[in-house]
């Protein structure tokens, strides 16, 4: 029989007490990055959605709004300066958001190397949560298409020469129902992503406590719904001929 005198097992790793810095390396730090960049993107979506509604003001109103986006700030700064800054900011936010997501997903995968044999049953609002990762990927793909379609006009029937208004009307033409469908599906994903993302950001930033928790949860749902409705109203309006 194996006997031995005192050989303690190797001491487990321990973090140095209260080590400062390394914020971005901790899971909590990454979550905060996710929340803050998400908030930036939400603000962008709000502005985008409100801008989109200009389409109901007619071709001239919509086109001049599009032009204004490029000229705002002139002559104090050269044309497109603010837009470019915003684009850089957005790109950085998207990049950091995705970096944090990938990094946390990889950490999660490492934390559970052996999966459960029984299907793990969700005990909370599992569906919305499960869409976060693949939903995020779908949204990213959609953004690529969306830029090619309505920003650069590459895949738009009107081509690069068309006015923004023409691109919208031609892009969502009834004959191109599949484009519209893809847009609607993507918007539904955005809605779900926001539904959990917003709520999650409140939680991550430590705002969702006590009585506020319920209110913030409702707010996240209502906000997501309104935003999605705002976005889908445009292609639907084109499809049924309200905007032509």
């Amino acid at each position: 029989m194996a006997t031995k005198a005192v050989t303690p097992r190797p001491a487990p790793a321990r973090a140095a007490p209260a080590r400062r810095g390394g914020f971005l390396r901790t899971s909590n730090g990454k979550k905060a990055v996710m929340a803050v960049t998400g908030a930036v993107l939400v603000l962008f979506l709000v502005a985008h959605m409100l801008g989109n509604l200009k389409v109901f003001a007619g071709a001239e109103g919509f086109n001049s709004y599009a032009a204004w986006l490029r000229t705002v700030g002139e002559p104090a700064v050269p044309g497109r300066t603010l837009l470019t800054l915003a684009e850089i900011g957005l790109l950085a936010a998207v990049g950091l958001h995705m970096w944090a997501a990938v990094s946390l997903a990889r950490r999660a995968a490492r934390a559970r190397p052996v999966k459960y044999a029984a299907r793990r049953r969700s005990r909370a609002d599992g569906y919305v949560v499960r869409t976060m990762r693949y939903g995020g990927v779908i949204i990213a793909l959609f953004v690529v298409w969306h830029l090619l379609d309505l920003t650069f006009g590459t895949v738009n029937p009107g081509g690069a020469a068309a006015t923004p208004y023409e691109r919208v009307v031609q892009g969502f033409a009834p004959a191109r129902w599949w484009v519209t469908s893809f847009y609607l599906v993507a918007m539904a994903m955005v809605g779900l992503h926001l539904r959990h993302g917003l709520w999650s950001a409140f939680q991550t930033l430590g705002l969702a406590r006590g009585r506020r928790r319920r209110a913030l949860n409702v707010l996240a749902a209502a906000f997501s719904a309104v935003l999605v409705l705002g976005f889908v109203s445009v292609p639907l309006a084109v499809m049924i001929g309200v905007v032509k």
């Binding site: 487990p12 790793a13 321990r14 973090a15 007490p17 209260a18 080590r19 400062r20 390394g22 914020f23 390396r25 901790t26 899971s27 909590n28 730090g29 990454k30 979550k31 905060a32 946390l104 950490r107 999660a108 490492r110 934390a111 559970r112 190397p113 052996v114 999966k115 459960y116 044999a117 029984a118 299907r119 793990r120 049953r121 969700s122 005990r123 909370a124 609002d125 599992g126 949560v129 976060m132 959990h196 709520w199 999650s200 409140f202 939680q203 991550t204 930033l205 430590g206 705002l207 969702a208 406590r209 006590g210 928790r213």
Partner: protein, 245 residues
């Protein structure tokens, strides 16, 4: 009742492990889940087989030692219940029950359904305490505490450290466990001097142990036998952001 059990068997950390099917007959609906496993083990022993190893101790839902994933749910379907307090009357005659250990890299399997939760102890070691040598304490009434704060601190302090939160979390995160202690001590005036260093050290230790990050899925609180609320995690996040600034 007669049941079919699919139980994870693993003969030590180095072994690969597999699901093994057992029939258990004449189970009384009044048995607890662990008593049902006792019956299986008595039989396996007499048949010369190796009984199924599982952790348990108080069998009254407070020590936090027991825990298994039953049909894909940590501690089983019944809410706010530890495995030892789950009774067989909640299962149907003829049912097939899948039983697995907590699955997480920081909870390596020791044998069968037994896992090593030493990582939880090390998270507490990192800062889950108030430093006060015996004999140095001032009179208990020298520091009044608002009843609401004391009650909220108590709610967080009821955590039994069973690890169900980690088992249920799709990310294998220990946030609820860690946050419960941070919230408990952070709500009390006694806990203030070490509040910042505590949250930073405990969060870092949690990461170092290899737990996943929280994505606010809420699965942890749904299976928590003591119903520790998600509020705790929000509190930990707020404290961490403040301390790490």
């Amino acid at each position: 009742m007669n049941l079919t059990l699919k139980v994870w068997r693993q003969n030590g950390p180095a072994d690969g492990g597999r699901m093994v099917t057992y029939k258990v007959e004449d189970v009384s609906p009044d048995m607890s889940f662990l008593e049902m496993l006792d019956v299986l083990n008595e039989r396996l022993t007499l048949e010369g087989d190796d009984p199924v190893a599982f952790d348990h101790d108080c069998r009254e839902g407070i020590c936090g030692m027991c825990g298994m994933v039953i049909n894909g749910v940590a501690h089983g379907e019944q809410r706010a219940t530890t495995t030892c307090q789950l009774h067989m009357r909640h299962f149907e005659d003829g049912a097939t029950i899948t039983i697995e250990p907590w699955r997480a890299a920081p909870f390596p399997v020791v044998k069968d359904l037994v896992v090593d939760r030493g990582s939880f102890d090390r998270i507490i070691q990192a800062g889950g305490f108030i430093s006060v040598p015996a004999g140095s304490a001032p009179d208990a009434h020298s520091m009044p505490v608002k009843k609401e704060d004391a009650d909220d601190a108590f709610d967080a302090a009821t955590c039994i450290g069973c690890g169900a939160c980690v088992a249920a979390c799709p990310n294998g995160s220990a946030s609820l466990f860690t946050a419960a202690k941070i919230t408990h001590l952070g709500l009390l005036p006694q806990g203030q001097p070490e509040r910042d260093s505590r949250v930073v050290a405990m969060v870092e230790q949690m990461d170092l142990e290899g737990f996943g990050g929280c994505t606010n899925t809420g699965e942890c609180t749904a299976v928590c036998p003591k119903g520790i609320p998600l509020d705790a995690i929000a509190q930990m996040n707020a404290d961490y952001l403040k301390a790490a600034r």
